[in-house]
């Protein structure tokens, strides 16, 4: 009896909410800019222990956009890259600055669910190994052949994963991880031989004393873009592009590069 | 006190009670015997409506309790039952077992219920075990608590479903003694039992039930010593060694 009543109440509540809740029409103006990002991906976004903030190149860019729009920056971290992409696609965040590749096959796939700004960074892939690893690449440039017979870790949903799956030689094993933390931990422990990740994070992770080094770069010439939900429902894309153009012209972009990439 | 007319009960395909007619007068001790599967337990459980009869009527003091308007709980307050496997509530002390019905069903105050419970437990000889849990009692003691529990409700009729069949031999005596005392005090009792000694000495009426009908009934001497029906003779010869 109690159950019947409960079910009926639930259904009634749902029905009532459907009619009561506002739909369509003009939503109220937003005061926040909700930005989604996936950490850690230094130096683009990382967690600063001393002040408990999320910081990075991407975050600074997002801050500039927020100022341009006159809104308060709110950064939300997603612990899985695929979850982040899904959230952007469904409008769960206003925009996402998270080293998202907009070019190539991955880019066109992502274009189905999100729109991108003008490119704001040019990136390549890097191969991260333990310092003691025997892997060397001629002229610090690796190819898919360099990864033969190796167990290579990648983060799920990234271009690293798609590049490796598309280009690997038969003897390469691919291990997929949810976060960068996990793949770095596996590499340090020795359960995988290498990690394929964007070059800048690779260099950032291979800090002195970390026991890791970059064996070499894989040239993919990827372009990062800032993502908004499909159709730019919030109408912020033009503002984003304005900001990007302005900082390039004024030299503020170069200052940021210097700040984060040394 | 109890009148049963044309009682039928089936469980699926199995037609267990096939038209039972029975009368039990006030103060009478009626002993029901018969082969297993004859429907004795089912009959007992119909009297206090634990089982709903398919057809037929049961009258308790001229009230037709098989009337769907009658609340089973009302009937059960007036009909006490003692089970073969005692069925004490294992998470409660002997005292709490007895007071539960008093407080929850009769709505008695806790203090009054406690007094009554102690009285009933003294009556069955277990005043010293009021705070014991069933797991700490012997089989005979548990059954006596069960009897006290049923008596506490001041029932008009007491039903006993093979009360000693699950007891070790050394405990059967103490339970039968309590039942005998109860009978002598004038309680109306319907007892399903294989204890022929009890039936012969205490029962006013012995009823043989076989295949769901009453085959024969009468005073113990008649049924045991001078059975008239063939089936009665057959049953008696099997159990009276």
């Amino acid at each position: 009896m109690v159950f019947l009543v409960a079910i009926i109440m639930l259904a009634a509540g749902f029905g009532a909410a459907y009619y009561i809740l506002p739909r369509g029409g003009t939503p109220p103006a937003k005061t926040n800019l909700l930005v989604g990002t996936n950490m850690p991906f230094p130096p683009f976004e990382d967690f600063n222990r001393s002040n408990g903030e999320i910081e990075g190149f991407d975050i600074d860019i997002a801050a500039l956009v927020a100022t341009e729009l006159g809104r308060t920056l709110v950064v939300r971290q997603f612990s899985s890259f695929t979850t982040l992409l899904a959230t952007v696609g469904t409008g769960g965040v206003d925009m996402s600055v998270s080293a998202i590749t907009m070019s190539g096959s991955a880019g066109s796939q992502r274009n189905a669910t999100m729109d991108f700004s003008d490119p704001y960074y040019n990136a390549n892939q890097g191969v991260l190994v333990q310092t003691g690893s025997s892997l060397t690449c001629a002229a610090s440039t690796c190819t898919n052949a360099s990864l033969a017979s190796l167990n290579v870790g990648v983060q799920q949903g990234t271009t690293s994963e798609s590049w490796l799956n598309d280009n690997k030689v038969a003897s390469t094993t691919v291990t997929v991880f949810q976060t960068v933390d996990l793949e770095v931990a596996a590499l340090t422990a020795g359960s995988i031989d290498a990690v394929l990740i964007d070059l800048d994070p690779a260099e950032s992770l291979a800090s002195p004393g970390s026991g890791l080094r970059v064996a070499g770069a894989i040239i993919t010439n990827e372009l990062y873009g800032i993502a908004v939900p499909n159709g730019d429902p919030d109408n912020i894309l033009s503002a984003i592009n304005t900001v990007l153009a302005r900082i390039r012209a004024s030299g503020a972009y170069d200052t940021l590069i210097l700040k984060w990439f040394g | 006190m109890i009148r049963i007319r044309g009682l039928h009960k089936s469980f699926g395909e199995l037609h267990v009670l096939r038209g039972i007619d029975l009368d039990v007068s006030q103060g009478e001790v009626s002993c029901i015997v018969g082969p297993s599967g004859s429907g004795k337990s089912t009959l007992l459980r119909c009297i206090n409506l634990l089982i709903e009869p398919d057809r037929g009527d049961i009258f308790l003091e001229e009230v037709r309790i098989t009337d769907p308007q009658i609340r089973p709980e009302w009937v059960r307050q007036q009909v006490g039952m003692v089970f073969q496997s005692f069925n004490l509530l294992t998470h409660l002390t002997a005292l709490r077992n007895v007071t539960l019905g008093l407080t929850k069903v009769k709505g008695m105050e806790a203090a009054a219920a406690r007094d009554k419970a102690i009285f009933e437990l003294e009556r069955v000889g277990l005043a010293h075990k009021v705070d014991a849990y069933p797991a700490q009692l012997s089989g005979g003691q548990q059954q006596r608590v069960a009897i006290a529990r049923a008596l506490a409700m001041d029932p008009k009729v007491m039903l006993f479903d093979e009360p000693t069949s699950a007891l070790d031999p050394e405990y059967i005596r103490e339970v039968l003694d309590v039942m005998t005392t109860l009978a002598n005090e004038g309680m109306t009792m319907i007892v399903v039992s294989h204890e022929m000694g009890f039936a012969r000495n205490v029962a006013d009426d012995v009823v043989l039930i076989d295949e769901g009908v009453v085959v024969e009934r009468g005073p113990p001497e008649d049924i045991f010593d001078r059975p008239t029906h063939e089936r009665t003779r057959a049953f008696m010869s099997k159990i009276l060694r």
Partner: protein, 267 residues
Amino acid sequence: MRLWSHASRWAFAVMIACAAITVATALGQAGVYDGRYAWGIAAELAEGFIGTAALVSAVIPVGFAFGFLVGWGRTTRSWFARSVATGYVEFFRGMPPLVLIVFSSLSAAVLLRRYLYVEDPFLASLLVGVLALGFHSGGYQAEIIRAGIQSVPRGQIEAAYAMGLTPRQTLLSVVMPQAFRVSLPALGNEFSSAIKDTALLSAISAFELSQLAGFLARDALTINVRMVVIPWIEAAILYFALTFLVVRGVKAVENRVKVPGLEAPSL
């Protein structure tokens, strides 16, 4: 005699703990690991511990509440209640908790943004994810409680009815107390499972211990690669402590509701 054995058990435990701390400190000073670092991150991990404890204190009660209702619903006479309850159990046990958490949390976030114009639905979506995990745990707890209810001997229910108790009175006075007692050990088991499952809530950015340990471990890379394992060891100790506390709590409840004479014999 009982008091002494009780006290001596505690004294023994304290001695073991002191010995362990002494050994750990000595190892640190001997350079096996960086003692200062280990103690330094302990404070941060303690915050993570509190975060996990907060999540646990939401997940377990939600699970118990729904587990109780649904477990009971599975045993009622109402066909409707049984169907709904069975549906609940099948759904929430069959769904991988991570999928459940992420899906429900993100759906909530998107719905809140789109229809209620909530700008930053983080807290609400976190709550939804926690509730989802609670429901998941509830699915398992429901089965435990159902088994407990069904373990109450039918004869006792008969006897209760024979005394004139209504089905509802019987449920409250006869069935539930015994079902609860019987269910406790298995529930303790499920609680410790739920504690570990809270680590999944990091997928929706809940502040909890395992994700923090991961951060600190990677951070340790910038100091010295040999220290990477320290945050994980400390986190493991904290998880063990939390599980130990919860299970002990359940055991304490077990002892309080224990029925004399029904203790299981030692084999």
